[in-house]
Amino acid sequence: MKLVIDESRCKGCNLCVLVCPYGIFQEGTELNSRGIVTPVLDRPERCTNCRLQALYGRMLCGVCHMICPDQAIAWVEERPFEPHKVEVEF
């Protein structure tokens, strides 16, 4: 599973930034095509729901999904061999 923000629905209220216990959502800086600053995801693979939802078979944390007033946050199934952004720290 992976965490996605639906750019066509998000209005940029940054409530997810406030509630995420892992600090995955960060306030964005760039306007998108609708003129809205949407939050950006910082290493979304840390999200407990992404990792363990299939194992437990239920929603685990999901506070961002519930509090999002625009129904913009969801988890989608990953396609096989999807490219990942990897940051190497030295």
């Binding site: 066509s8 629905r9 209005k11 940029g12 209220c13 940054n14 409530l15 930034v17 406030l18 929603m59 999901g62 506070v63 999904h65 519930m66 509090i67 999002c68 007033p69 625009d70 129904q71 913009a72 969801a74």
Partner: protein, 262 residues
């Protein structure tokens, strides 16, 4: 988790302002309805007029968007005509407390089997921020530019006094607790009333030094006090701050209800 098939995808994004709490309440209510396992054909959402009352327009079930303040009267009619339907009413504070006050207390008195979710944003949001019966004392709105001088209505206590079977109050910050409260209300036979304090950054927060959504949510969170804690403070003889409001389950009882599913 809300399955996306409960929402009308072609109507989204909705008209609510950035950071409005009404969308959160829709999420929590739909989560609770989903938990109950109700089918879309046997669920009806009823609403009146106002920001909050636009909610059923985004939900893919049969719904009634009725006249100002009369949502409960229409919902009573639906329930009396078809007791097999599950009725959920979305309403706002201006809708429920101001113009629909009598319908509210009489629906509580009759104990009609439905769930009322009141999104209390302390103001008439849609018409430009006029003061409503639930505007807190001292708050500034467009009709009370020197601060509200009248005391505010406590809707949950009113429902307890009028005789509702289940009464709870939460804020739009407490999403998990709110979902559980709505689910408990849906299970209870008789009228279940859930008051949700939501943020209105555009029309309430802007005039009251809470312009940012996060400030408004923080204000709600820090001013909410659990009923149990309030009772404990009173028992211990300690002072209870006057600017807080109680959250939690206020009453759960078994008065005879009307229109319960046979």
């Amino acid at each position: 988790m809300i399955a996306p098939d409960w929402l009308r995808d072609d109507r989204l994004p909705h008209i609510y302002c950035t950071g409005c709490g009404n969308g959160t309440v829709i999420n929590c209510t739909l989560g609770a309805v989903e938990e109950m396992g109700w089918k879309r054909e046997e669920t009806v959402f009823v609403s009146g007029i106002g920001c909050s009352s636009r909610a059923p327009g985004y939900i893919l079930t049969d719904s009634l968007h009725t006249t100002h303040g009369r949502a409960l009267a229409f919902a009573t009619g639906v329930k009396m005509a078809r007791p097999d339907l599950n009725v959920v009413v979305f309403t706002g504070d201006g809708d429920l407390a101001a113009i629909g006050g009598n319908h509210f207390i009489h629906a509580c008195r009759r104990n009609v089997d439905m769930t009322v979710v009141c999104m209390n944003n302390h103001i008439y949001g849609m018409t430009g921020g006029q003061g409503s019966p639930t505007t807190p004392q001292g708050a500034i709105s467009t009709t009370t530019p020197y601060g509200m001088s009248e005391p505010a209505f406590d809707l949950a206590e009113l429902a307890v006094a009028a005789g509702a079977n289940y009464v709870a109050r939460w804020t739009s910050y407490h999403v998990k607790e709110l979902t559980k409260a709505v689910a408990a209300g849906l299970q209870t036979p008789g009228l279940a009333f859930i008051e949700v304090r939501t943020q209105c950054p555009t029309n309430y927060g802007r005039h009251n030094k809470l312009r940012r959504v996060s400030e408004m949510i923080e204000h709600l969170r820090s001013h909410a006090m659990l009923v149990e804690k309030r009772d404990r403070l009173i028992q211990e003889g300690k002072p209870v701050p006057d600017d807080i409001f109680t959250v939690g389950e206020l009453v759960r009882r078994n008065r005879p209800a009307m229109g319960v599913k046979p």
